[in-house]
Symmetry: C2
Subunit: 580 residues, 2 copies
């Protein structure tokens, strides 16, 4: 490609609404252009990146035996009513009426449509396994779209859906996809982790997120540097503490803690480590009748160590807490006779169920609120000062330094951006939509399903969050808009420069290199600044003076300085520096 | 590709709602699957065709210097309000509100968005010409979607938009696109015509439709077998008749024609050729005040020869008739004192403007209605029996046998399916959206624009309408889902057949041939029927018996019978039969 035939548009400043670096750089490098909130034009430079991402995904999906199709962007509501998602999904689901008043949705994913295809097309176990995928426009009407393509409303996703005859086969299909995803992410040239994720009500370990590692990532990733263990924060298990609970060594005492309503403040006031304090969280669960009216409310007191945070997914799994909510201030004052900040499990008058984290269950001589404003209690001990808790469970987020669940060291935490997810669905959709096939005995059986997504347009944003410097983007070769840029200096003045540039361009093109010749006639400073901003990984500069010495300059986007290379060697030199 | 890794699904019968052959065959061959009215899943077999169409279009668009980008499917209403199309477009434009109640449209085309990009990005004449294109999902909420992908609601279109500094440059850009379209349609391997089309109010000849020739086409195409002349019916000019009007030879006479309200019936009753009768059509134009209330209505009588049809586009161009409508029956009875079927220009009491086709203007001794039920008048002559008409113009559709406007023979008519359109837009959108660039003198000028569409998903349907037989589809090589299919007979029983099939498959793959090996183990009859229905152009059959003689069978989808070819020659033989 020659720059004069292409479209290059860079900006000195990012627009004010661009908060994160990838959004800023994508706008400045002219990869995308905002059309509305969370809605972007993919400009020529950006579309080249997206197409390269798509091509890698498509190749590996095909290699893994998945079959590509395309499901409509606008989908009839009827199918979405079969699974109840038309009603259940929130305002993220964009709903439309057509000219005849019929309801439609703009697809955020396609479970319903693909299950509808399967129940019509896959009639026999002999047709299984089958995995359909599409690379298609999606829409989620985010309440607060932001960060450019990172959390847009219209985006491109690769979504795949596997159909199997039984759980064992479904797990095999899942593993095929998990392996394909590793190949895909390896090929992107990004640092990533496949982390175990919560698989919801289905259970089992068949849910992994593919996280591109970046300090700016929204997600906390837990991993063990000494092993393969990696999970997202929701999923990562905090191991049960070792050894028995110590014996009490202190008497229980009420202590004035005026104005100290947080564990940190109390610990500081009392000169105790934060890990000796206990945090009280009040939850509630409602029982409703057939009309949806609340007929009974149960209040729960959740106790965590002062230096630990609650993990909602884990709390959700405690029997009875599946649909918990946080208690209201009125409920708290009613049950504890005290405002939040000084709550605790001692001396409760009303029926409150007490659920404690495993760490709290083995504490002795701990500190909690006195259920009286401006007072705490020290030296609290289980059994002696209050009954044993109603339930003990893993309720907290892990912290760096916790032992790894695989016993191979301690956990570390880093940040990531989720760009892929593989998930075992079971029969959730096939049962809801009565999607069955006939087994060997001619009996209808629901499909065992899995779903597998990759955020095609989110990936470039994640790649930039991971790979940039103060001058701009640094693309991995595999997804760079161009792999090589040739920058001739004074092409209009020097016939030698022009000829050398055209010759190298033709030579590289003939070798199948994705090369751009910058024939715009920009001055060197502006030209270099453009390409450093856009982030093309390999640059060859051809100047009049060095050409007289038979050399040109090569610089990788990560190199501190240019290297002189003989004109005759430069194509080979560039190829040598390219990722395989 | 091996069939076992792919997804093949054929039907014996087409669904009842499939009316045209392409719709029937696309459903039966498993290319598409209906999801809702005018909304289809592109199944794996169909998607391969679509991707091949896209690839050819993309290659030639790039070669012609156009730059690919992608504009959102969901577009903010604001831009559409700038041009007035948000209000003016009918219910075909699908309108949506998001969760915040903001208005959006699902794009049917992207003139507004691309003009918005241009007014921000193309600031100087030095950046021109520029042509942006996209291959993207579109939606038109057709009142009556039908014919499968031929007139669907959701579809894929390639739309390109050129931006130029002046009319001359815009015309050059138009010609570049018109040439690229010829290369694209040549490569598809279809019989097509580029026909002149009406360019609306803009004038000039810069509008061409690309029509795939098919007996079942919706559009009538006019062409001259002896020259390059081709136009659509709306556009094709009926030349002015040669020679002067003959002198009157009959006296005017009122004749009873009871119940004969059509020209054909009257001609038959009177024993005259249809070309001696004159057809009366009553139109009306309304003048409105600033409140949109009708303050005056002018009635027009349009006269055409009995064997000719009115051309609305041409009538629209007569001064005063730009916004004509057909008169109501009440208006007709008021002005002519007679119901439709017996109308004519003789003896009118109220002010009616008379506009006649050029053929009618040179007729003598003609027949028309008497403005009295069940009566006509014969022997009518201009000047003698009524004044000369108020206006004479080309108002009719041409008919086969009319002289060609280029003077090189007579016109013929065939049917076509419009799959592409190149169109000079002028400054319609740039002026409405105040989209300007700075010229050499630093003065803002509106862009001169053109737009260029190809119906990516309509093309396969058109290809099938043109290329099919009673057994199924016959794809041109360039857009076939697979170019070659290898059909081994009894692969499960014969190791020799299996090995020969696998070897040929590997050999062809290595040569870059898009080949499918049918390893499903179907019986020959079912297997052949599938591939004839699906329409793969080249088939190689490998059987145990012929293999012992060292031969396999080759059959092109259009061949009446198979040809025996030595195993060692078959790859070369197939290549020899492939389109270049």
């Amino acid at each position: 490609m020659k720059a004069s035939q292409f479209f290059i548009s860079t900006l000195k400043e990012a627009p004010a609404d661009a908060e994160v670096v990838s959004h800023k750089l994508m706008m400045r490098a002219g990869l995308i252009k905002k059309l509305g909130a969370g809605i972007y034009n993919y400009m020529p430079m950006g579309l080249r990146v997206i197409r390269k991402v798509e091509a890698i995904v498509r190749e590996e999906m095909n290699r893994a035996g998945a079959v590509e199709c395309t499901m409509p962007v606008i989908q009839p509501a009827e199918l979405w009513q079969e699974t109840g998602r038309f009603e259940k999904m929130g305002p993220e689901l964009l709903r439309i009426s057509d000219r005849h008043g019929r309801d439609f949705v703009v697809q955020p994913t396609s479970e319903e449509v693909v299950t509808d295809i399967a129940r019509q097309e896959l009639r026999s176990y002999k047709q299984l396994p089958k995995n359909f995928y599409q690379i298609q426009t999606k829409f989620r009407d985010e309440r607060r779209p932001r960060f450019g393509l990172m959390r847009g409303r219209e985006f491109i996703m690769k979504d795949a859906y596997s159909f199997d005859r039984d759980q064992a086969a479904a797990k095999a299909s899942y593993q095929v996809m998990a392996q394909a995803y590793r190949r895909i992410f390896d090929r992107f040239g990004l640092t990533y982790r496949a982390v175990a994720a919560d698989s919801g009500a289905i259970g089992g370990d068949l849910s992994e997120e593919f996280q591109v590692i970046a300090a700016t990532g929204e997600d906390a990733i837990v991993y063990c540097p000494g092993s393969d263990y990696a999970a997202n924060m929701e999923k990562a298990e905090a191991l049960a503490p070792q050894g028995p609970r110590p014996f009490p060594s202190q008497a229980m005492a009420k202590t004035a803690t005026p104005g100290k309503s947080t564990c940190a403040d109390v610990a500081e006031l009392l000169g105790l480590p934060l890990s000796r304090t206990v945090k009280s969280l009040v939850l509630a669960t409602d029982t409703t009748n057939e009309h949806g009216e609340i007929v009974k409310t149960q209040v729960w007191l959740l106790l965590l160590r002062g230096d630990h945070d609650m993990n909602e997914i884990k709390v959700n799994k405690v029997a009875g807490l599946e649909n918990f909510r946080f208690a209201t201030v009125a409920e708290i004052e009613d049950y504890f006779g005290c405002k939040p900040g000084y709550l605790g499990p001692i001396g409760l008058q009303k029926p409150v169920k007490i659920v404690v984290d495993r760490e709290v269950a083995v504490m002795a001589d701990w500190v909690c609120g006195a259920n009286e404003a401006d007072f705490h209690i020290t030296g609290v001990n289980w059994g002696r000062d209050l009954p044993e808790p109603d339930a003990v469970a893993d309720l907290r987020n892990v912290v760096a330094g916790d032992p790894s669940p695989d016993g191979k060291g301690v956990l570390a935490i880093e940040r990531g951006i989720e760009v892929g997810h593989v998930f075992y669905l079971g029969t959730k959709y096939s049962r809801a939509m009565n999607a069955t096939f006939l087994d060997e005995n001619g009996k209808p059986q629901p499909f065992e399903m899995g779903c597998y997504g990759i955020g095609i347009t989110r990936l470039p944003a994640a790649a930039i969050e991971q790979n940039h410097d103060e001058r701009g983007i640094i693309w991995p070769d595999a997804i760079a808009p161009f792999t090589v840029v040739i920058c001739p200096i004074g092409m209009d003045r020097s016939e030698e420069v022009k000829q050398a540039a055209e010759k190298l361009y033709a030579e590289m093109l003939a070798q199948g290199v994705d090369v751009l010749l910058d024939d715009r006639g920009e001055r060197p400073g502006a030209m270099f600044a453009d390409w450093e901003l856009i982030g093309v990984p390999h640059r060859v500069t051809i100047g009049d003076k060095s050409l007289k010495e038979g050399v040109v300059e090569y610089q990788h986007r990560r190199d501190a300085a240019a290297t002189k290379v003989a004109v005759s060697d430069v194509a080979a030199h560039v190829k040598g520096r390219m990722a395989v």
